[in-house]
Symmetry: C2
């Protein structure tokens, strides 16, 4: 089933008004922002990833969705499958550290015992408050597309986690992403549309354009790359296309009209116009789209 | 890890004030009741259970927790692992039917692709509103223990689902439990403590007593059994002990002082007193506790 087929299927269910027609990463109900993400061992993280880092990431990916709505974390629910007491203990130590680091707390959850050899399935649901909650679908024709921070470190870090040599800084970007909560709080009241970059800059920008009923053009030479990423990848592999199609960045992608001065470090990487689809340019010249824009769910 | 060890571990995490110290089946945050349950294929349901019934049950077990807090369903979040398009389509058709039957709607969720051969892990999180939310820990010395409806049909239905002969009525009790939402609404403002019976009457009553810091005595001859259950089990196997230690009833267990007249069909099955632990009687005479009080999580 493709992601599009799946969304069509989900939209046959009765939808809550706060569901935003399932076009957003978060819902808004009774003034609370709600988001939930599931990580599967071997799919969303490597079986060799340290349990405390998996706990960190599980929390961070959910708080990143709150960040994209400009919400303050209220608390989380955890659905956890017990399997190996040592791993479980270390996971909970990591979760304690991560919750404390983000001034967040546990609201509840459910703990079940996994069958032996079943991959771990970890679900966390985060609640946020006081959000202006700009939609993913809010981009307007003429808006510019911005992204906070730099892109691609986590993708390089994943290769390092898989055994490629590389600096701990990039590995850490993959294993311990930072949800951009402060940036989201500052941006949310002023932007037209916002989402996080979880599956890749190109695919997340394309989804924002599709949800907004617009076309988006992205300039590859503008994609912000960190010194560590450039140093690691070198001239050829530092191609921004690799960075822009890798996932797990957890930066914020937002749109605003020309003239907007972002209150946080951010880079203008594209623009929206009437139409549909994603166009890539490099130094202003159109270039073909890659076969894969990022991580696609389902399918 | 035992359930008690696990709760001790979870209580090392920073807890939200609405978490009720993890002593309840539901949390209360910003006026919303929140509950979440995970069903694992082969653990909480049989791989041969029809997908539309699994969807029904996933929703029902969560709405049952809302019922125990006297909440009206606001909506649900779904975390779903795709694996087999035919099964998935039928599951979603069943979920549509179940949501519609309970005037409930989808708020959001996350859909992931399961590795081949991984057991399905299904998580649903339900939000409820307008709840008086009596705690599980609210029983007082002298309170009587009541249970709505009848007990044990789902346990008998599980045996039928596993191949034992038996009537469809009992099989249906296992596969299509009814969350007691109307009963919960009527009871919640008047009772001292309330929970649902999900893991077995004895174990859920024992948890209520422990959470309340009290002892509870249950009279086995008072456990309400349905005509269908009695007819199916016969004189010997109709022992209320089997019914009271089987799970999946989803009736409501509540406490109130002597003289309380429940506004819904309910049976008085026990009483609370200062002290700790569970005592069983049959026709007023103490009987030994069974080795297993019900379904225990973790461990």
């Amino acid at each position: 089933m493709t992601e599009s087929d799946l969304l069509s299927l989900l939209r046959t269910l009765p939808l809550h008004p706060g569901a935003r027609d399932l076009r957003d990463d978060a819902a808004v109900v009774a003034g609370l922002v709600l988001t939930t993400d599931t990580l599967i061992e071997g799919v969303h993280y490597l079986p060799i990833d340290p349990p405390e880092d998996v706990a960190w990431k599980l929390l961070a990916v959910n708080l990143s969705d709150l960040a994209a709505k400009g919400a303050e974390p209220e608390g989380v629910l955890l659905n956890y499958g017990l399997r190996d007491p040592d791993w479980d203990q270390t996971f909970f130590a990591g979760l304690r550290e991560a919750l404390t680091a983000h001034a967040c707390s546990l609201i509840g959850g459910d703990t079940v015992t996994l069958p032996p050899n079943a991959p771990r399935v970890l679900t966390l649901t985060a609640l946020g408050r006081n959000a202006s909650a700009p939609p993913r679908a809010g981009a307007r024709p003429g808006d510019l597309l911005w992204v906070t921070g730099t892109i691609g470190e986590a993708g390089a870090g994943l290769a390092i986690a898989r055994g490629e040599p590389g600096p701990p800084e990039l590995l850490r970007a993959y294993r311990r992403p930072t949800p951009r909560l402060a940036e989201g709080r500052l941006l949310a009241p002023h932007v037209h549309a916002m989402s996080d970059v979880s599956d890749g800059l190109l695919i997340d920008a394309a989804r924002m354009a599709e949800a907004s009923g617009l076309a988006v053009t992205i300039e590859l030479s503008a994609v912000p790359l960190s010194p560590a990423y450039r140093a690691h990848c070198g001239d050829t592999r530092g191609d921004p296309l690799a960075a822009a199609t890798a996932g797990d960045d957890y930066q914020l992608l937002f749109t605003a009209p020309p003239g907007f001065a972002p209150p946080v470090p951010a880079t203008q990487v594209g623009a929206f116009a009437p139409g549909t689809g994603l166009t890539l340019t490099r130094d202003g010249e159109p270039v073909p789209l890659p076969a894969r824009l990022g991580y696609e769910h389902g399918g």
